[in-house]
Amino acid sequence: MLKTYTYPRYDYRVAPEIAGGRSAKVPVVVVGAGPVGLAMALDLDLQGVPVLLLDEDDTVSIGSRGVCYAKRALEILDRYGVGDAVCAKGVSWNVGRTFFRESEVYNFNLVPEPDHHRPGMVNLQQYYLEEYLVARAATRRGIDLRWKNKVVSVTQSATGVTLTVETPDGMYAVEADWLIAADGARSPIRRMLGLEVEGKIFMDRFLIADVVMKADFPAERWFWFDPPFHPNQSVLLHKQTDSVFRIDFQLGWDTDPEEEKKPENVIPRIKAMLGDEREFELEWVSVYTFQCRRMGRFNHGRVLFVGDAAHQVSPFGARGANSGLQDADNLGWKLKLVLDGKATERLLDSYSEERVYAADENLMNSTRSTDFITPKSRASRAFRNAILSLARDHVFGRSLVNSGRLSVPSFLVDSSLNTPDEDAFTGRMLPGAPMDDAPVEKDGAPGWLLQSAGNRFQLMVFVDEPATADTTALSQLTTDGIPVEPLLISRVAATACALPLVHDVRGIAAQRYDTKPGSVYLIRPDQHVAARWRRFDAAKILAAVARATCRQ
């Protein structure tokens, strides 16, 4: 098994606390160097916060696990410096086919939305993503990544956290101002602190397998309801990179996972599905039980939970790693402001508020997909099958077929950090929205709006030409030590400009943000809209920054 990928073994080093006996309090410890923990460390590094990142293992994820990375996740990975590597290695796919019993019901083509840097999604085995994130973290001096360092106890006080860490050379203690638990669905940190995760476990299991195809097979997503080779259940086939395909077989509840995982039981299933003549090799196999649950809140005193440690969803719709990356995106800048004393811990309550809202949306979509894929009653099955029979000929039927809804970011429209509109705007860039990308030029070179956004508060100022901007007022936007950096978005090209500037060559940014000359958008460090107005008003902008940082 495992032919296409060689697992890296990362070097374990003796911890300085053991080697030299020294020990100092660190600002932040992140536990778990999976995709979310690594993202968290890179986000904090962009904020200038040193991070101690601990992982009990010394390699990347075994088996593909997370497969599909959606546009918002790719945009976040761009900010962390690994977006290009993921997109270059990943597989883009547009065509999805849905089968019911013997035949194809319909297919769809998710043509990428034009004029965005990143596509709707790419497929890539999780181990590649982790490898790229580890490589990136290794270049950052602020990230101290320690393999084979396992946290075995945790206690917290009002001012910090104390951890005991076990290594091959013995134990040591670490004190930190803040602990971020990115230690997965079974989160040992959560358990050690006696915290609960609430929700339901679906009475269903899926067998997931990575298969290497010897022959060409299209880069498409195939989903079967009740196929002849696996009656009464569902099956998903999805292309990954290196000719590896991911197959998910629904097993039902009355099966023995250990028995089902055996190659002699897995291989006949795949043969039945592909037809006997197609050559393949099994790389990895696992059994997955659906869980849809989350913690009541994601911050507990000095401990913050991100990713699967905080919330778990069913795999259909790619909401695990995608939503975990958005947790990191949301938390990094907030923790920085709290560490610097520029915001109170209330700002971390807003991390929980906003990401619980997003988790609930993800749980809802994931539960709906699960209810469609695995009907729980005769009536539910009858409706499901009726929709599939209508989908062949009728568009409305297709829109109701739910074999997983692709992860899209939450619009945090109810967030207490937003300043409600007082001016009229159309379109979807309302306060709380994740920024839409747009093609722009910077210094005459083609690029993207999102490449000029992120990591600090910014004010996008839409102008006909840069000369009309009030350079003095725009360069003095600061409140309580939090600067707001202007970003002029100009309809005409300009060279000499004292302020950061991009050229909205085709007017697409102005169109997507529904702006007129003089319109301004206050943007959070995580590329979300905080507020917007039809004209510049420094007092209103600074009040909105205060609101977006819980300082009012």
Binding site: D371, S380, S399, V413
Partner: protein, 74 residues
């Protein structure tokens, strides 16, 4: 007016950010209405629902078209 066979769900005052959301909202309501019912009770619920909706639509030509399409696929 012909029978509308395009996606047509929406709720007044609700803002959608994904095309699939209104249809999924409806489907969850529909399946939720059947929760904890026996098969017989579910059949009765479905029959009552069809009658309520048919009366609301009222236009018999349209109902005839819907019945024909529904029957084709059975």
């Amino acid at each position: 007016m012909a029978l509308n066979l395009n996606p047509n769900f929406s709720e007044a005052g609700k803002r959608y950010f994904s095309a699939y959301s209104p249809g999924d909202d409806f489907y969850e309501l529909l399946i939720g209405a059947h929760r904890d019912l026996s098969d017989e009770q579910s059949e009765l619920l479905n029959a009552r629902l069809i009658l309520l909706l048919a009366n609301h639509i009222g236009d018999i030509a349209m109902l005839r078209e819907a019945l024909a399409i529904a029957r084709e696929g059975v």
